[in-house]
Symmetry: C2
Subunit: 346 residues, 2 copies
């Protein structure tokens, strides 16, 4: 099955072992332009994450992991203890790039452990780190496929699906499997997702490549469409899932969840590898506030007059009572099951 | 009290009796540019309305009324019955420009009656029509002031107000009176209001001129802000109010009303001269669908890839149970009072 570019993360990010650089698809410009950014230093890697060259919890975590490989290469002649210290410092820099998604923190912790072990046994930390992140990318792609396949089962035969932002590789799998393998009739409605327009660009493009009819809405239209019964299903990804079943995702996810509940439309969350075991509830999820000047412009054109401030919370939290089900690589769960998701008995 | 440009409609539209033209501020470009469009024919007047050179229920109705004066001038040498027929035909053309707001229909009906009477008594229909619409503009400005003054009374001393789209002259009066005369501390949060960005341009600019702090939000952020308790009050205008208290207004008004109700925030509608006596309930309000290509671009820049459709319902209907109060020139009413608003006993 031929799938769109963003379905496999290795299409969009890689570590160049010859050059010691991290190469990343610029998601701010895709699909209007397919341009890759080459990061040659830790600062350039961190900037690619904060400036949203790479977006989405798993992809930005992979780029951070490759950034550690780059740092290991640049310090490979240093004494072991100083190499370890440099990696730990680099990890702190990368950890502070984006606070909301949990993938970044888990990947950095695991990568630092792997690198430290390699250094202590005299191994090449750069190679070990690049191998480790390559493995994480492959694992993540498999998680996305399993999650998307489970989600496809939930769609009715004639599905009109509202989505917000770009729900990533699992969305591509859900649409592809439901449309091509199961023969379901799908119509995707994508909120444009201001200010970065991920819905207008990434979601609309990927769905169109899969062959699913896609209609774009501005972010103020879903309520009316719910009131007219236009949607059978509301689907988003999650940047972090808490153990109480709360879901942090792109700003706006909450308001459409409120509308879905009011109009009796199920809300399914593409939960990939499940909840963050370190986050007990939604109140413990930090909400990143980004540069408010983004809100004052659109597609590079200033929209607001001088003297007007902006406010840009990048995520919101949807409480578990508004979530119908969380779909992970293991199957379909109700929010209350997140508390025991990682326990051995599961 | 010095008030921003849009507070008095005569600043933004007029009939030029020397030239026989209708002169209209281009609200698509204001405040970035202050440009007036001169309409020399019925088609140009109709286009100024459909293309949103002029926006808002009362202002576009006034422009249509002046358009009849222009038509009367162009046919003044014709026999009386043919002049009357030309005006009635022009009225039909103008009536079909925008279906949702009721002001257009009421003003056209009244203007055609006035013109017909003038012609039958041998009067100059152009002058009578221009005089009539001038009077309507003056009356409408007074209605807006009374409505805004009543609304100012509803604001708490420390008000954080969410608004959507541009609620017109009554919003300017509400903010000016509450801020300057009553000394209340106000902070306005304006949704940018895609696709035409009336919030980012008109609302933000007018509030800033009045001296009220204004923060711009994209249309997907209000839900999060409600969940954080950031708003004391939600205020919009109405393009049409039905006798059951349903409110048609700019697309998105409904979804924020749902959120306001969920979070216990009152929703006040600036209702100007009250409900449309010819509209029994919300189901009888036609929702205009505009050119969907507007949704595929922002500020003149294409945002969506090729192959993606758009959908552009321009208004939505908020049911009366989500409306706390409707503020008109006569005072503050609950939605259930709209049914008897126009009865003589009132």
């Amino acid at each position: 099955m031929t799938l769109p570019l963003l379905t496999h993360r290795s299409n969009t990010l890689r570590y160049d072992r010859d050059q010691g650089t991290v190469v990343v698809l610029d998601r701010r410009r895709y699909p209007h332009e397919t341009v890759f950014v080459t990061c040659c230093s830790l600062d350039e890697v961190a900037h690619a994450i904060t400036a949203m060259v790479v977006q989405g919890g798993p992809p930005l975590a992979y780029v951070a992991g490759y950034g550690l490989a780059l740092v290991a290469r640049q310090h490979r002649t240093w004494p072991t203890e100083q190499q370890r210290a440099a990696l730990i410092q680099a990890g702190e820099t990368l950890r502070h790039t984006r606070p909301t998604a949990d993938d970044l923190h888990h990947l950095l912790n695991a990568a630092l452990t792997v690198a430290s072990d390699a250094l202590l046994r005299g191994d090449d930390a750069e190679r070990v780190l690049a191998d480790f992140v390559d493995g994480q990318v492959a694992t993540g792609d498999a998680v996305a496929e399993r999650c998307g396949r489970h989600a496809a089962q939930l769609l009715p035969d004639d599905a009109t699906i509202l989505t917000h932002c770009f729900a990533g590789a699992a969305l591509n799998w859900m649409l592809s499997v439901a449309h091509r393998e199961q023969g379901k009739r799908l119509h995707l409605y994508a909120n444009e997702t201001r200010p970065y327009l991920q819905g207008a660009r990434l979601t609309a493009h990927q769905a169109h490549e899969i062959g699913v009819a896609v209609t774009l809405l501005t972010d103020n239209m879903a309520g009316f469409c719910f009131s007219r019964g236009m949607f059978t299903t509301y689907v988003t990804a999650a940047d972090r899932i808490a153990l109480d079943g709360s879901v942090a995702n792109k700003i706006g996810t909450y308001q459409y969840a409120v509308l879905a509940a009011r109009h009796g439309v199920p809300f399914y969350v593409l939960g990939y590898d499940g909840p963050d075991p370190a986050t007990p509830d939604g109140a413990h999820i930090p909400i990143e506030e980004r540069d408010a000047t983004e809100v004052l412009q659109c597609a590079g054109v200033r929209t607001a007059p001088q003297g007007v401030a902006g406010y840009y919370p990048a995520f919101d939290v949807t409480p578990p009572d508004l979530v119908t089900a969380i779909v992970t690589e293991r199957g379909v769960f109700v929010p209350a099951e997140m508390a025991t998701y990682h326990l051995p008995s599961q």
